[in-house]
């Protein structure tokens, strides 16, 4: 991935030098081996700090909203899942396509620091390098190579769009990742098999972990409202209390609001401080939409209407007997 890192730096420098864009968004290395954070550079020389490694997991497209309010022309590096989020923001008219130059980065998968820590490999770890599926752990004592994807995020293992779906330039050759469509919603099916009390136990236990920090909402590219209903006190819909019914209300409403718009990028599960598997909620709605109204992938085709803003005369439904709807 280092080769591409050099390309990233070169491209960013070139873009800033000849004023193609006012600003470039990329990632920068921090203190620790897993610490990579988004950075906005305006000077060509700052481009040297840009990197592309196994921890550039943050989706940069959501920052475009604020940047475009300052009507800057911005260059941005987008992975596959980021580009889906970008398209969803585009569809919601939150960003203007021609104010953005997209440099596409096919992505082999990002490493989950928790999984590295779980294996205890983080002792004295300085850096992690990755090329294709071979991961090298650089520690004080020396290097260690491990083949395989056992350290990748779960969402990367199930990734269906490794290559950006929208870009102006592609900085690497496309990657092929076959993912079986069949067990895409394994997690949902497992929960659906539970009895109704088990399911309620499972979810009320998950929801009670929530500390109402809104990280899942603020990271989500489908949640881009100017003023969220939960931030709006006189919407009279919910308060900040972390009591069971408010948490239930928040999570059901959030999943319902991103219905037909969630691009399945898995960021909500990654950032949740309490570790709630929020994508299992979104997956359920995606599964239902695919079953009831035909396969729909949010963020792939901007021109296609989202399932909940269109209809067919002979739609199935899941509440009348002849509704033919899936349960």
């Amino acid at each position: 991935m280092e080769k591409i890192g050099l390309k990233v730096r070169a491209r960013a420098k070139e873009a800033l030098e000849n004023r193609e864009v006012d600003e470039v968004m990329g990632w920068k290395k921090g203190e620790f081996w897993y610490d990579v954070y988004p950075v906005f550079i305006t000077e060509a020389n700052e481009a040297d700090d840009l990197i592309w490694d196994a921890f550039c997991v943050n989706n940069l497209s959501k920052y475009l909203i604020q940047k475009q309010k300052e009507n800057k022309k911005v260059g941005v590096f987008l992975k596959g899942c980021d580009s889906l989020g970008f398209n969803q923001l585009l569809k919601d008219n939150r960003i203007d396509r021609d104010q953005v130059v997209i440099y596409g980065l096919p992505c082999v998968g990002m490493v989950d620091p928790e999984k590295v820590k779980k294996e205890g490999l983080n002792k004295g770890l300085l850096e992690i390098k990755r090329s294709k599926d071979e991961i090298t752990f650089v520690t004080k004592e020396g290097e260690k190579k491990i083949l395989g994807r056992q350290f990748d995020y779960d969402k990367c293992l199930a990734c269906r769009y490794p290559n950006p779906v929208v870009y102006d330039e592609l900085l690497d050759t496309e990657i092929a990742r076959e993912v079986s469509e069949m067990d895409r919603f394994k997690d949902v099916e497992a929960i659906e098999k539970m009895s109704i009390t088990e399911r309620f136990e499972y979810w009320s236990n998950q929801f009670s972990k929530c500390i109402r920090c809104n990280a899942c909402r603020n990271i989500c590219p489908a949640c881009s409202c100017e003023k969220c209903v939960f931030d709006n006190v006189n919407a009279g819909v919910s308060s900040k209390a972390s009591v069971d019914s408010e948490e239930q209300f928040f999570h059901i409403t959030r999943a319902y609001h991103v219905a037909g718009r969630c691009v399945d990028c898995g960021e909500c599960t990654r950032v949740c401080p309490a570790g709630i598997p929020l994508d299992q909620l979104n997956h359920k709605i995606m599964k239902d939409i695919n079953e009831l109204y035909g396969k729909y992938d949010a963020g792939v085709d901007v021109s296609q209407d989202a399932p909940l803003v269109t209809y067919k005369l002979d739609d199935a439904d899941s509440f009348t007997e002849h509704g033919k709807g899936g349960k």
Binding site: K69, E70, D92, N93, R94, S224, C225, E226, K227, C228, V229, N232, N234, A235, G236, V237, H257, D305, A306, L308, V309, T310
Partner: protein, 661 residues
């Protein structure tokens, strides 16, 4: 602090019977914001309304809740009362404690508790009501009449007389409808053409009326006062201006095999034809299935013989889009298919005919020039049997459950005409009951029996089967209990009427509903027979239910009066409970624009001061005239930036809270 007045109605004993009014008043007094609670036997009466008016003034109420019958019934009444008392009419809410409470629950204690809950919900909602001013929308002073039968003609004439422009759209090549096919009309026996054709001529010559025949309605957009209708005028292949109606082409046309719809299939017609001689417009139409030129490309004889050079094979269907203020539906009725009635042998014997075919047989302009002959061998029949209620009053799925209303009268007319013209022909009528409810109707029927000697036999026909030249009719005389056998020469079946085939999908285009028999549902069976639930769309004639000509004409004038009432206003007051966008919250995702059935929401760019920086942003905006207040957009709007006045999110949440207390 709000000053809410609660008025509880007894509705005689309808509410007071199962709801303890005192308890409701006591409970209402306790509710937040309520400063006055009173009850009265009949709130909707003049005394009741005065009570409200005076209390509003005395107690300086700023909101009123009426706990009475359904708001669908008297919400408008109480809003008017509030307006007269100087209170904004939209600060009134009605709690439905009759249809939804006292009439449903017998246990007094439970009904009272529910009445209190419903009143509390209304108080919670009215507390959040805002004063609304009804907006105004322009009215297109032009009416559209769908269907060119007597109903459509009468409506168009009345509206045109009132000075408004009217368009008639008729599917078949000429106006006239079923009445043009009829020979004589009951009870006065005056000739149908003599009373219809003058009206048709009036319609064709009236400056305010334009007629679109041979055309169908594609789709309707818009709302009352501003309907935008797209019509598809099918190609006649004849130039309407040039054609002088000489008829040479119809004689010379070699293809004579097509069955004439107007003659109910009793006579053939040429490929280029006018349905009947007095057709308006008297311009022929080329039936492209039957025409040899269109089928094989050879022929084209009509073009050569036409003196005016009016034939234009290249003519295409044209789409016409026009704006209308009101629409009147007058598409008439059809006769049910008799193929399922095997016992009457209609399908396999030519001499078993329907009453409409009989009308054509006895009509002077008909296939036999008015001579009554058997369609099979053109001989004069000696015995004619009429069978009533064929498919009417029938609960099986072969027929229709309702009585078709006009068969008894026209069968009496047919029998009388036969006996009058050919006294030697015996006529028998098998009936269940003879229904003659109109003016001079029963006297007409008795004349047929007494003067003209028509034999009425109370009992149905069991079976008809060909027996050599004759038709054996097996019936029963329920009064004497004898089974009867008649060998008749001809049998006329009074077949049931049904709604037009395309009535349902026309209803869907106009978003008016049809009942289980596909007749259009009127707004109220007794009080609003010519209106529909959709403002601006009216009904006339048999498309709303089986009807004879006098009633149809009466309804047509009624519908015309309603349409004129609407068109006479240059400004229409529109429903103020429409949606509104809070631009501070709207993030411009425009999901609402995709939902709106009336395309009432568009986007606009606003500039605003974002903490010192002037920034531009796309937000949604609602066209007040187009929005009908359905509320679909409010759910698509996740942050709740768009809301419906009168049914805001907070109001409904307040109602939910109040009901769950």
């Amino acid at each position: 602090m709000q000053r809410i007045g609660v008025f509880v109605c007894w509705c005689g004993t309808n509410i007071a019977g199962t709801v303890n009014i005192e308890k409701v008043i006591a409970a209402a007094g306790e509710m937040p914001g309520v400063v006055y609670a009173k009850d009265y036997q009949y709130m909707c009466s003049a005394v009741g309304q005065n009570l409200v008016k005076n209390t509003i003034k005395e107690q300086k109420l700023d909101r009123v809740v009426i706990a009475s019958c359904s708001p669908r019934m008297h919400e408008a009444t109480f809003r008017k009362t509030a307006k007269v008392a100087g209170l904004n009419p939209y600060l009134v809410e009605v709690a439905n404690i009759r249809e939804h409470c006292s009439w449903i629950h017998k246990n007094k204690e439970e009904a009272t508790k529910k009445a209190i809950a419903l009143t509390r919900a209304a108080v919670a909602k009215v507390a959040l009501n805002t004063a609304l001013i009804a907006g105004e929308i322009g009215v297109e002073s032009r009416a559209l009449v769908i269907g060119g039968g007597i109903a459509g003609i009468q409506t168009a004439l009345d509206i045109a007389e009132a000075g408004y422009e009217v368009d008639i759209i008729e599917k078949s090549p000429s106006i006239g409808g079923k009445m043009a096919q009829i020979d004589k009309t009951f009870p006065t026996l005056d000739c149908s053409a003599c009373i219809l054709t003058p009206k048709m001529v009036d319609v064709s010559t009236h400056p305010n009326i334009n007629i679109y025949t041979y055309s169908e309605l594609e789709n309707v957009k818009g709302y009352v006062g501003n309907f935008e209708v797209t019509m598809n005028q099918r190609a006649r292949s004849v130039n309407m201006e040039k054609c002088i109606g000489c008829g040479i082409c119809t004689d010379k046309c070699p293809s004579k095999k097509a069955k004439s719809e107007f003659e109910e299939g009793l006579r053939n017609r040429s490929a280029i034809y006018t349905p009947f001689p007095q057709a308006i417009p008297n311009v022929p139409v080329i039936d492209r299935e039957a025409c040899i030129k269109f089928k094989t490309g050879k022929c084209g004889l009509c073009e050569t013989v036409c003196p005016a050079g009016a034939i234009e094979f290249s003519q295409e269907d044209t789409k016409i889009t026009k704006k209308y203020g009101a629409i009147v539906v007058a598409i008439g009725y059809d006769i049910i298919a008799l193929d399922k009635f095997g016992e009457y042998a209609y399908t396999n014997h030519q001499d078993v005919i329907t009453s409409l075919e009989f009308e054509r047989l006895t009509n002077a302009a008909g296939p036999t020039g008015g001579k009554l002959v058997r369609p099979s061998d053109h001989k004069k029949p000696k015995k004619v049997v009429f069978v009533q209620c064929v498919g009417s009053r029938d609960k099986t799925e072969r027929g229709k459950t309702y009585c078709s209303k006009i068969c008894c009268m026209y069968t009496a007319k047919h029998a009388m005409l036969i006996r009058d013209k050919y006294p030697d022909i015996e006529t028998y009528v098998f009936y269940i009951d003879v229904r003659t409810p109109g003016k001079n109707f029963d006297e007409f029927h008795r004349r047929a029996v007494e003067e003209y000697g028509v034999n009425y036999i109370k009992g149905m026909v069991g079976k008809i089967f060909p027996d050599g030249e004759k038709l054996q009719v097996h019936g029963v005389d329920a009064l004497t209990g004898d089974t009867i056998k008649i060998d008749a020469d001809m049998v006329v079946l009074a077949a049931a009427t049904k709604a037009k085939e395309d009535a349902e999908d026309l209803g869907r285009k106009l978003s008016i509903s049809t009942d289980t028999n596909n007749f259009f549902t009127e707004a109220h069976p007794k009080l609003k027979p010519v209106e529909t639930h959709c403002a601006g769309i009216y009904l006339a004639g048999a498309c709303q239910g089986p009807k004879d000509i006098p009633e149809t004409v009466a309804q047509a004038s009624g519908a015309a009066a309603k349409a004129i009432g609407l068109l006479s206003k240059d400004k229409l007051v529109n429903n103020p409970c429409i949606s509104e966008v809070d631009e501070k919250i709207c993030s411009g995702c425009l999901a609402c624009t995709k939902i709106c059935p009336y395309d009432a929401i568009t986007s606009k760019v606003i500039t605003f001061n974002d903490h010192g920086k002037i920034t531009k942003r796309v937000v949604a905006q609602v066209n007040k005239a187009l929005c009908q207040g359905c509320g679909g957009c409010t759910v698509a709007c996740r942050p709740g930036a768009i809301d419906i006045k009168g049914f805001t999110n907070k109001q409904i949440l307040a109602e939910v809270d109040a009901l769950c207390r």
